[in-house]
Amino acid sequence: MPIRPSPALRAVALAAALPLVLAAGCASADADGDDAGAAPTTEAAPASEPAEVGAGAPRLALTYDGGIQVLDATTLEVLADESLAGFNRLNPAGDGRHFLVSTQGGFRLLDGGAWAEPHGDHDHYYTADPQLTDMLFPAEKPGHVVAHAGRTVLFDDGTGDVTAFDSAEIADPDRELLEFSTPEAHHGVAVELADGSVLVSDGDEESRSGVRILDAAGTEIAARDDCPNVHGETVAADEAIVIGCQDGAVLYRGGELTKIDSPDEYGRIGNQFGTADSPIVLGDYERSEDDRSSTVALIDTTTASLRLVDLPAPYWYQSFDRGPDGEGLVLTYDGALQVIDVGSGTVTRSIAVTAPWEESDNWQDPHPQVVVVDGMAYVTEPATRQIHAVDIEGGEVWKSADLDVTPNELAGVSGDVEEHAEHEHEGEHDDEHDE
């Protein structure tokens, strides 16, 4: 069935309308961004003059109650501290430089202040002061941000609207937007593949179990409706997409949608972590709604099979990522970062990183988070207000830094050209506790 209205038509309409929306808030130093007296500008101008540096400068962003800090990922020094009220979520925007903050009113652009510009057969690297810009992608209930193959896709849970654009043009108010809506608003997700086809979830506020594939023209070419509580996405090698279900996962590969069943009747996969180089996807796994699970799922996208791996202790869904060589990384309650060989399904190393911890009943409370940037794994420890940089191959914490805030959400950008946006794992977060 064709989606409404056709993406091509809406893209034209939106490209014309959006610059006005964005311009209204630009150039205002106010956090609320609606200062009517502000002179409209058309660029998210850097706060400081760019300086050329000798190498890519990876950056981390972390939220705390009241704001967001941006850190130099190598020195762990705080480079910027921006106030922003409310519970905010963070995702890398897909261009190696910016973050998108899911906040009141929409997705707001945070400039990490480090980027690369191609210069023949090599790149030049620049840094400037990070800043929370006033550029906003309006959304009633900003949800998942998915960056893949140079495209960034936003999902508004409040309306079911999907907005996609070239990741590299994120700060350009004249960027061309592709926009369409799902039939009903739901906590959803959409991924755009290199050929312009789109995987999008389907459902409504009560329930959701559908996964649909639309070709570049917006026409449905495949669909399934057997993925209860559909959630999360990741892209593995050969652009295989894995979507989580309450009883397994749906795999989209080579033009076909396949259901992979969990061995348990209730065996929920909600968050998946893949890389462009590995056909194996790592997922969380729960046997009940309130399972404090210590089991993770490994999904082989080449055989559409699933196997479970037991870890020494429970984890929570945001203590996951993939290591520099595709290892599975999970920080467990015992404070150890478990390094999983996803091929053999074995824990090859446990690196002591934090003190023992456990999940609280409120998912919005600060918990340890794990993010890999530029080959290093970063782990926040809210209980001690610290952040740790972990060298996976070396098997040890490289350095730790004390923060003056309690870190909650964590995300990273490379400060480099993102050749394959799928190297990052944007947008995999959980909704089960969603309001």
């Binding site: 050329e52 190498a55 023949g120 057969d121």
Partner: protein, 288 residues
Amino acid sequence: MTRAGSLGAAVAGCLVCGLAACGSGQAATDDGRLAVVATSYPLEYVAAEVGGDLVAVTNLTPAGGDSHGLELSPRDVTTLTAADVVVHLSGALQASVDDVVAQQDPEHLVDAAPLADHGADPHFWLDPMRMADLADDVAGEFAAVDPEHAAEYADGAERLQATLERLDEQYAEELAACRGATLLASHEAFGYLADRYGLEQVGVAGLDPHVEVSPARLRQVADDVRKSGARTIFFEAAAGLGVAETLASELDLGSDVLHPIERVADDETYPELMVANLAALRRGLVCG
């Protein structure tokens, strides 16, 4: 080990040299000299050598300033407009200067762009024979504006070309045994040089000699270096903060300085820096 302390100090000194080398900022001259505007040091050098006492050359990139992304002040634009001859390299990361030059459309413009034909790499001047070609273009343009002194400009170009040819011979001779050697550079600015003298430029992406390096990145660089077979990493400036030592010990490598000669200190000149670069290459390359 770091072997390039003195050159590094000279580079650092450039930060305070300010505008002294840049002339008065006014191109038009009352003393009958041609007002010439160049947009970066290598172009300034050629213009000054070719024109000698007959020209007053203004370099719009302040000494020690970054020629990449140069933004012109209104005064610079005035200077450019008043110039008798403009020497510029278009398409080389000076987009705003490109715009101004295109807008002003100077009657006498030497654009070095055809000499920088390696993709987006602007550093053509590291091949002295490309500089020699530029000398001809500049002399021709000077003569067009000031035909009375055409012979002097031609002489100036010839003298400069003799200097450049000597440099070229010296390079060719001293690097003859190094053909095929890997030139491991922290910033791949040396492609024209590598091409002319049969070297293989390999970039070490991801290292800034002034910035601490994570174990993961160091490992990545170590892999690249091992594959290249090189024994020295060339940085653009002397390494600091102990990173050179870290590299040397972790990677079993030396570090040295190759100057991209894009901007120079007051007391530095193109030929001297080219000679210093050659010495660094002789020290650091694995030659037969």
